[in-house]
């Protein structure tokens, strides 16, 4: 019996131990995912909804401007937005670079020591789209000859025109010969409407080159080598660019790039803002005076919008767009007297205007805007000082003083222009403090242009603006040399002296950058001593056509040459994320209503889908 009990006990213990082991194993197994290293799981690619796919594949830019021509050499900012994406140049600027050019259709080049001969080795295997014709040296010759024969392109980049001829050395080597030295000619070639390479066969098959006229076919049809090409253009409605399948850069590794770019014209700024806030547009330009209010809304409503006016540190981005007051230097204008001009320079409230009227969206600058090669912090300037203003008035010639006391000084502006009515009223108030009368005159814009080109002086002070094409100050030279002065009739403000003319020429041919800067600063001093104009401020940042974008837009690289360099070569979209919570109510991916249309029309449509 005892033996039986012992055997039973042993058996029970064994069973209990076995059960315990099983339980422990089960527990270990069940909890192993918490303490055992897990094998790497294959990544799960999230399935995109049709709305999300469409959102990523299509980049929408909205603007108030309307393109009217697609000719690669056509002037006009709205036209250039599109043509610079379709046509390539021999060289280009990359990223934020504004001085050194990078290869584009040319893979390398040599420049003669006197900067008169530029020899380019061309990239092989490049083809135009949609024609498929190859790009080679004959295209370079044809393109540059064409722009000079048409004489309608932006030849004001350098006046007088330096181009002499292009020689075809071999199929992939072109040599450009200039009439005189131009150290910055490579920059000119990077300028899209000057250096755009066209297909000779395409042009000759459709009307050829006619002196003094654009080729009409090219106004509405394209054949380029750029990353993008034209898919559709409904004038007044939208331009649709699609990927160029022949693009020489290749699309490998660029799957996240959009497949299409839609450029839509939306005249009303408030409508553009609505589209952006809704996510129905990705990039827009909004007037500067909307920006402070938009900034508040971005913070209060958590709008997924970025204002591209400031860098990461909150500093305003530079640009080449400058606003000034043009001062008439000719008789019978009161401003012909240098002391009257200096009076105005001292009476203008520079910082107050930027703070109160521009609400901070402006940067005080001198003759050379902050984006240019030679801009500096310690440029010569007139500061706001009414005591000095009054003293200058006392120094003016007696007959001029009498003229000002009797008639006042006239300030002419046109509505909608920078430094318009508000500037006039501000200056009027300041001059009134020193008992000088300012008479304000509003005219239509065409009249303002007329005044500025009249041989007979028709204004005394006028609002003005200028936008450099390159950051090389020699680009300004054609505005500020004595040959553009009366009697030809041009603006009327100080256009330089024989001394400054020589300096402009010298600077344009100086190959050493530091020496070039010194010459430009000498010119700056001459203009400062003459109180040539009142330089008010520079419009900040991307300014013209791309100053607001959705936070989901990535890859945009700001440069002062944004209006000239390709915008869409690096831009792509990601699905939006919203900091600190759910998306704002206003934001919703598009297509929801469009999808409902598909539901309504049902299977009938599936056979029509492409």
């Amino acid at each position: 019996m005892r033996m039986q009990r012992g055997v039973t006990l042993e058996k029970n213990v064994k069973m209990a131990l076995s059960a315990a082991v099983v339980v422990v194993l089960v527990v270990i197994g069940a909890t192993s995912s918490y303490w055992l290293p897990q094998p790497a799981k294959p990544p799960v690619t999230p399935q995109l909804t049709p709305e999300q796919r469409y959102f990523l594949d299509n980049l929408v830019k909205i603007s108030e401007e309307r393109p009217v021509r697609l000719h690669p050499h056509s002037r006009g900012h709205a036209n250039r937005i599109i043509t610079k994406e379709i046509y390539d140049t021999l060289v280009t600027f990359e990223g934020s670079e504004t001085l050194q050019v990078s290869p584009c259709l040319a893979s390398s080049w040599e420049v003669s020591p006197d900067y008169k001969v530029f020899t380019f080795k061309l990239r092989k295997g490049v083809r135009f789209y949609p024609s498929g014709d190859p790009f080679n040296a004959s295209c370079v010759k044809f393109s540059l000859d064409m722009i000079h024969k048409e004489d309608k392109g932006p030849l004001y980049l350098c006046v007088p025109y330096p181009y002499d001829r292009t020689e075809i050395v071999d199929e992939y080597t072109a040599r450009i010969v200039l009439k005189f030295s131009v150290p910055y000619y490579l920059q000119m070639l990077a300028y899209p409407t000057y250096g755009a390479m066209v297909n000779p066969k395409f042009v000759q098959a459709h009307g050829g080159v006619v002196a003094g006229k654009y080729n009409e076919y090219l106004l509405t049809h394209v054949d380029g080598t750029g990353m993008w090409t034209l898919e559709d253009w409904k004038e007044g409605d939208r331009v649709v660019l699609k990927r160029n399948p022949n693009w020489w850069g290749g699309w490998d590794g660029k799957d996240n790039y959009p497949k299409r770019i839609l450029i839509r014209e939306v005249p009303e700024a408030s409508t553009r803002l609505m589209l952006l806030a809704r996510g129905d547009a990705d990039i827009a330009n909004i007037p500067l005076d909307f920006l402070p209010e938009l900034n508040k809304r971005i913070n209060s409503e958590n709008l997924p919008i970025t204002i591209v006016e400031k860098d990461e540190k909150g500093n305003l981005l530079p640009s080449l767009d400058q606003v000034s007051l043009i001062l008439q230097h000719r008789y019978p204008a009161a401003t012909r007297d240098v002391h009257i001009r200096k009076m105005i320079c001292h009476a203008w409230p520079y910082e107050k205007y930027i703070k109160d009227v521009l609400r901070g969206y402006g940067v005080r600058s001198g003759m050379f805007p902050p984006g240019t090669l030679v801009s500096r912090q310690d440029y010569p300037r007139y500061d706001y000082d009414l005591t000095k203003a009054k003293n200058e008035f006392q120094l003016a010639a007696p007959e001029v003083k009498e003229q000002v006391i009797k008639n006042g000084i006239r300030f002419t502006y046109s509505e909608g222009r920078a430094a318009g009515k508000q500037a006039a009223l501000m200056l009027q108030a300041e001059l009134a403090k020193i008992d000088v009368k300012l008479v304000i005159e509003e005219v239509p814009y065409a009249t303002e242009v007329d005044y500025s080109t009249s041989v007979t002086p028709r204004f005394e002070i006028m609002s003005g603006s200028s936008s450099a094409d390159m950051n090389e100050p020699a680009n300004f030279a054609q505005y500020w040399t004595t040959e553009t002065w009366p009697p030809r009739g041009w603006r009327g403000d100080f256009r330089g002296s024989p001394e400054s003319d020589i300096l402009w020429q010298k600077a344009g041919m100086e190959t050493n950058i530091e020496e070039r800067k010194k010459i430009y600063w000498q010119i700056e001093k001459i203009f400062y001593d003459n109180a040539s104009s009142v330089f008010l401020y520079t419009i900040p940042g991307a300014g013209i056509d791309h100053n607001v974008q959705g936070t989901w837009v990535k890859g945009f690289k700001f440069t002062v040459l944004s209006s000239v360099t390709k915008t869409f070569s690096t831009v792509y979209k990601e699905l939006p994320s919203f900091k600190g919570g759910p998306p704002p109510k206003s934001f919703k991916l598009t297509l929801s209503v469009a999808t409902r249309i598909e539901d309504l029309t049902g299977d009938l449509l599936s056979s029509r889908r492409h």
């Binding site: 469409y54 299509n58 309307r66 009217v68 002037r75 006009g76 004489d151 309608k152 030849l155 004001y156 003094g212 009409e216 106004l219 409904k234 004038e235 007044g236 409605d237 939208r238 839609l262 839509r264 014209e265 939306v266 005249p267 009303e268 408030s270 409508t271 609505m274 806030a277 809704r278 129905d280 043009i326 239509p444 814009y445 065409a446 009249t447 242009v449 007329d450 500025s452 080109t453 006028m462 003005g464 603006s465 200028s466 936008s467 054609q478 505005y479 603006r491 206003s586 919703k588 598009t590 297509l591 929801s592 209503v593 249309i597 598909e598 309504l600 029309t601 009938l604 029509r608 492409h610």
Partner: protein
Amino acid sequence: MKLKYFIIRRILAGFVVVIGTSFLVFALASLIPSNPVYLWAGMGSPGRSLSPVEIERIVKMYHLDEPWYIQYYYYLGRLLRGDLGYSPIRDRPVMVDLATYLPNTIELGVFGLALAVMIGVPLGVLSATKRGLLDHLSRLSALLGISLPLFWIGLIFQIVFYYRLRWIPDPGGRVTEAILFSYPLRQITSLPMLDSLLTGNWPVFLSLLQHIFLPGLCIALYPLAVITRMTRSSMMEVLSQDYVRTARAYGLSERIVIYKLALKNALIPTTTVIGLSVGWLLTGSVVVETIFYWPGIGRYAVDSIYRYDFPALIGFIVFAAMIKVAGNLAADILYGVFDPRIRRD
């Protein structure tokens, strides 16, 4: 026969009106104290260099070195040959531009007019026959339709129906691109809605309908108000006629009295108003197309103003005069068709 002479007389009179309009517009344009040649040559702001060759070409082309009446003489010669001028900004004939933009304005105008008629006539009839609250409301809405500024109404519509309620996918434009990319539209007549119907492209048709609704409603508000009021007053006048009283005395149902007897006669002045509305639709299109970025000739005109494209602007005004004259003529002819008394006279 008399109708034929009537039409011929009106056409000749219309021709005189169009020529007179062109003269007036040309004369007014010449009074503008500025020479646009620099703008046309490509000067966007004071300071750009201009090619002397370009300036000379423009001066020769538009005879800008001649007095304005000589310039008009050349312009009239081209106008009589069907040439509405050449745009220096767009580098192409104004006729080509109008042909590009006109189909969109036609569709908007037809849609707006159809809305105005389909709502205005029944509303006017109801207002005349069922006096009381409905009458007051319809008169109030007619007053608002005439008084409220179009640009304000347009912006409010965008904020409410697009931004807040999201009932429409887009605050403007012609069509949702996503639909167009998936269902490309084949062009037959240049009228997108008609083309989509002819080709059976229902997604695009519905998308076009979605986009035309708000601007169409905006542009319809004024003619809707006018049509409502005119229908109401003429209906009330007709209903007070002896023959209507007689018909009621004979025991005819109110429905037959209103819709078979009275309405036909009441619609005669309404038809005239509808014809006159064609001119308004063109005027209204200038504002509505800008607000809703509709690619029509109204926006073309606004764009031409901003660019100082005088040839394009003059061409548009002359074209608008032709439309207005044609609309008036159509109204007069229809008036004669509907009212035999007019034909006899």
